[in-house]
């Protein structure tokens, strides 16, 4: 069994986790930090090695960004408790699936819609550099008392990732950074949960899972076993349920096609933690658009 270390939040330029160095997004809290239902804004400067030939971020990685900012914003509403993601939903606008719209740098505005006793729901609006809304996302989180306490924050929060980590790890293509491996058939992929893919509590980051599931969905539609870019094939919407944490690995994603509506293919994807008695981690429904 993998040991479960105390959470490590780092400091300075190393603050946070591997995902936040790979997909750097400075986040600021709007207002003076006293609002019971916080609002935040993230600005994502798209690095060339994570976007496609058009400059568009893959939907799983876009979901990773809304998971990061939505999770943090949810957590701020719960301090001194913290949160864990239970459900992540994202839709891209129809005019942002191809062509120039929705490419390049992105801005994500997030606010808490509901803070209950045991759960929090946030909404994120994603805009491109021209101010067009290109995606919408909502996130449900469960409130918990984390081991080692919540991440340390000074309110209002200002998280600056402009000082980019120069470790070549964070310049790798997505399939290498996420340590993906082909499975036994198209749509089956393995992810090895390296340290940089985990969160401060040592479990697989929700964004790592989102990328894995997105890639599996695109691969089953493309009928390919090797992870990598799938030109002309993009996930237009997804909903991911996080049921159990990924701890041991390898994590095995398995995608299956349920049917088709025109250019849209409905795909169901699951992820299991093979090293943890093949425990079911996630189930997702995704629409894959084929241009």
């Amino acid at each position: 069994m993998t040991s479960r270390p105390e959470p490590s939040f780092g400091s300075g330029n190393l603050r946070g986790i591997g995902m936040s160095h790979y997909l750097p997004m400075p986040i600021v809290e709007i207002g003076d930090g006293s609002a019971p239902l916080p609002t935040t804004r993230g600005r994502f400067a798209a690095p060339a090695h994570v976007v496609d030939a058009d400059g568009r971020l893959e939907t799983g990685m876009l979901a990773s960004l809304t998971d990061s900012i939505g999770g943090m914003t949810s957590g701020l509403s719960c301090l001194p408790d913290w949160i864990v993601t239970t459900n992540l939903s994202l839709r891209r606008a129809p005019d942002a699936l191809a062509g120039p719209r929705g490419t390049g740098d992105l801005q994500i505005d997030t606010r808490v819609m509901r803070r209950g006793r045991s759960s929090v729901v946030t909404r994120s609006t994603v805009s491109d550099g021209d101010g067009h809304e290109v995606a919408t996302s909502w996130l449900s989180c469960a409130v918990l008392t984390p081991a080692g306490g919540p991440p340390p924050f000074t309110r209002p929060v200002t998280m600056n990732h402009h000082e980019v980590d120069d470790d070549p790890l964070y310049r790798l293509a997505p399939e290498r950074f996420f340590a993906l491996e082909a499975g036994e058939r198209p749509g089956e992929l393995l992810l090895h949960p390296a340290v940089h893919l985990r969160n401060p509590w040592g479990i697989l980051h929700g964004g790592s899972v989102a990328h894995l599931l997105d890639t599996a969905a695109r691969c089953v539609v493309a009928d390919r076993t090797e992870p990598g870019p799938t030109p002309g094939i993009i996930v237009s919407d997804l909903v991911i349920h996080y049921m159990n944490p990924g701890r041991e690995g390898p994590v095995v994603a398995s995608a299956s096609i349920l049917g088709q509506r025109g250019h849209d293919i409905l795909v169901r994807v699951t992820a299991h933690d093979r090293g943890a008695d093949d425990r079911l981690m996630n189930v997702a429904a995704m629409t894959v658009r084929v241009r």
Partner: protein
């Protein structure tokens, strides 16, 4: 609607198709399917959450085109029963075995509410009717008319809160939420992408009990619609009479 409960607690249900809730392609609208899935999910949650209770926290519905059918079938099973949440999925199929879509539901597990402590619900294995017309009861008109959903303007639809659309605590029923969201989305879609606009995909999160009417759904597009592909993405929010956001949904609307 009919249901069958199995020894392991899993539930299968059927929605006999009817023109009163048919969409432009002849198949059932997502609003009616949402009612089936919500009802069956609720049934499955009773045994899965026992001795506690469970409320629907979110529901996503993803439909495939079926065309005209006799009945829609839903098979509900438990994916995870945690301490505070329950996750179910529903496989949707036609009477001739074709896939018709998928639903995923999360329930919040809570201590059984006081007013439900003594309630006894038959969860024994077997097949039973979920709803039927009483002797002499007038057959319903179009489903959305029966619910009395009223279009105020493109994308804005209201419903009065009355017992027929309420749940066990008098709030707007989860299945009616789905119908209201469907109607608001289609209303916006008819304006932006054409008269055959149909809601094909919904991610719905329940935020608050809608306890005061009239209840209003407002649909707003995300980005620009794509009339060439007959495609619209929208956010739909349901607000109660006090202006509180009671549910938040994102939807996909298509037109042939």
């Amino acid at each position: 609607m009919e249901s069958e409960q199995f020894e392991n607690g899993d539930v299968r249900g059927w929605l006999p198709h009817s023109p009163i809730f048919a969409g432009p392609d002849g198949g059932p609208r997502i609003g009616a399917i949402g009612m089936l899935v919500d009802a069956l999910g609720g049934m499955r949650s009773i045994t899965a959450a026992a001795p506690d209770w469970a409320f629907t926290a979110d529901m996503s519905l993803h439909l495939l085109p079926t065309g005209p059918i006799e009945r829609l079938r839903a098979d509900i099973r438990v994916l995870r029963r945690g301490r505070r949440t329950l996750v179910l999925d529903a496989e949707l199929s036609t009477d001739d075995g074709r896939p018709a879509g998928l639903a995923l539901l999360t329930f919040a597990v809570v201590p059984r509410p006081d007013h439900l402590v003594d309630i006894v619900i038959d969860t024994s294995p077997g097949r039973r009717e979920l709803s039927r017309l009483e002797d002499g009861q007038i057959p319903p008109t179009a489903y959305h008319e029966e619910l009395d959903l009223r279009e105020v303007s493109p994308g804005v639809v209201t419903v009065g809160l009355r017992p027929e659309v309420g749940n066990t605590v008098g709030a707007l029923h989860g299945g009616v939420h789905m119908a209201l969201i469907d109607e608001a989305a289609v209303s916006l879609g008819r304006t932006l992408i054409g008269p055959t606009a149909t809601t094909t995909d919904v991610h719905l999160g329940f935020l608050e009990l809608a306890m005061t009417g009239p209840i209003r759904a407002e649909a707003v597009p995300v980005g620009d619609p794509d009339p060439g592909c007959g495609r619209l993405t929208a956010v739909v929010q349901v607000l109660d009479g006090d202006g509180r956001v009671c549910s938040h949904a994102t939807v996909e609307v298509t037109a042939s």
